[in-house]
């Protein structure tokens, strides 16, 4: 299990990355390496070129700007985990991060790497879907923004062109006082979730749900925003029965099957975890009633 031969490039600037992507055939971008490196070691991917992003300046940052959190693509999961800004302004991500892999993998794994690997149960991918994030990519034609809903093109395939690189993620923030929860079911601590549910809730002073976001990971080829449930909740008064009833809709979603779990089990978990996430999010709503 050793990587196949390839040419190695370690650009220092974004411009150099784009230049390399524009000229090299069959190139792979190496970010934190927590997904690409196992695939190289197993020779599941055989790139002619590896472009290492770890020496590029200016792609690692976490900042708040215009009601959104902006995160550089090379920001390590570990830095997100320990960011006070993330913890206070984007608690959903803070909770999700704790459930990603292990300390050794979070120390290396990056925001952009998770997004581009696009594992259907990856926590950060679900958070991006839950928050209606915008992905910024840069290519030869310059910079463009992709709404997250348009970002997954197919199973583990982002809608970016061969000459483009993800540079940042913009996560619109929910107002202070919103409720959040990231709940997942994995066989062991740190495993990819079989199913995960990310919930966000905003309520008015009477406990009426003003806005809701529910995202399921591990169900479809990419995270699924469950609009049917979201719509069923808005305008209603938050309550356990409401969540329970609304989340039954999750059982009808098309679900994947693999060696870890059959589709029917995923559908069942989708309903259970959605309800649990919404209940937990509701319990965290501040300033109601």
């Amino acid at each position: 299990m050793k990587p196949p031969p390839f040419r190695y490039h370690d650009p220092q600037t974004l411009g150099e990355i784009v230049g390399l992507l524009g000229t090299l055939e069959n190139a792979k971008l190496l970010a934190g390496g927590q997904s690409l490196m196992p695939m190289l070691n197993m020779r599941f991917v055989l790139p002619d070129h590896v472009i290492d992003l770890n020496r590029v300046e200016g792609l690692s940052y976490i900042r708040e700007s215009g009601g959104a959190l902006e995160i550089g693509a090379m920001t390590r999961q570990r830095d997100l985990e320990f960011s006070d800004l993330v913890a206070s302004r984007c608690p959903l991500m803070h909770e999700a991060i704790q459930q990603i892999g292990h300390r050794q993998t979070r120390n290396r794994g990056t925001m952009g790497g998770s997004l581009c690997h696009l594992d259907p149960s990856a926590e950060l991918v679900s958070v991006a879907a839950a928050l209606d994030a915008t992905v910024t990519v840069t290519g030869r034609a310059g910079e463009r923004r992709i709404e997250f809903a348009e970002f997954p093109r197919a199973y583990m395939t982002p809608a970016i062109e061969a000459d483009e690189v993800v540079t940042s993620l913009r996560l619109p923030l929910w107002p202070k006082g919103h409720g959040w929860a990231f709940v997942e079911f994995a066989r062991r601590h740190g495993d990819f979730a079989i199913v995960s549910a990310a919930a966000l809730i905003e309520e008015d002073e009477n406990g009426k749900i003003r806005r809701a976001s529910l995202t399921l990971g591990g169900i479809g080829p990419a995270p699924v925003r469950v609009r049917e449930v979201e719509q069923a909740l808005v305008g209603q008064t938050a309550a356990a029965e409401l969540f329970g009833t609304a989340c039954e809709a999750c059982r009808k979603l098309d679900a994947m099957a693999d060696v870890q779990a059959p589709a029917s089990y995923r559908q069942h978990l989708a309903a259970v975890l959605s309800r649990r996430a919404l209940e937990a999010a509701h319990a965290r709503v501040q300033g109601r009633g």
Binding site: G33, R103, R108
Partner: protein, 163 residues
């Protein structure tokens, strides 16, 4: 041999200049080029944790890094944990005294992982220790001796700090 690069890397405080093949894994570089064979390979797909090293003070799986990526960086391996040939680190002593190892193959990764963890969490709970080593597989101990050793080491390190 394919493409190579010259790298300069500091391992356990010693500066090394070396020519490495660009596809060479960091773990293989440490083991076979520097002869630091204490870093073990148990799965080469980033799950077992035996190859854990500290990269600029942060734990990382050296099977998921290229040697060339270490250029200009500092690495600590299991060989660099003990303060000297006659003295072991309190964490190593705690492993010995709590029977925290049997075959010892996972031990280097456990030690490096816990060096970082105890540095950042000097007074952990048992559950926190269990989560801290959740990315390290051990097939011999059932983890019980390892958890006991980590908790014991935390006490020893605290006591040493109090002096």
């Amino acid at each position: 041999m394919g493409e190579t690069r010259k790298i300069i890397v500091t391992v356990n405080g010693t500066r090394h200049e070396a020519e490495v093949e660009v596809r060479y894994l960091l773990a293989d570089f440490l083991r076979h080029q520097l002869g630091l064979t204490g870093t073990h390979l148990g799965c080469e797909h980033g799950v077992c944790g035996a190859c854990t090293i500290l990269f600029d003070g942060r734990s990382a799986r050296s099977c998921l890094m290229l040697a060339v990526q270490a250029n200009g960086h500092e690495i600590l391996t299991v060989e660099g944990i003990a303060p000297g040939p006659d003295k072991m680190h309190p964490l190593q002593e705690a492993f010995r005294d709590n029977h925290g190892l049997q075959c010892g193959f996972c031990t280097p990764g456990m030690l490096t992982t816990l060096i970082e963890f105890l540095r950042d969490n000097p007074d952990p709970t048992e559950q926190e220790v269990r989560v801290a080593i959740s990315g390290n597989l051990c097939r011999c101990t059932g983890y019980q001796g390892i958890v006991a050793a980590a908790l014991d080491a935390a006490k020893r390190l605290q006591a040493a700090k109090r002096g």
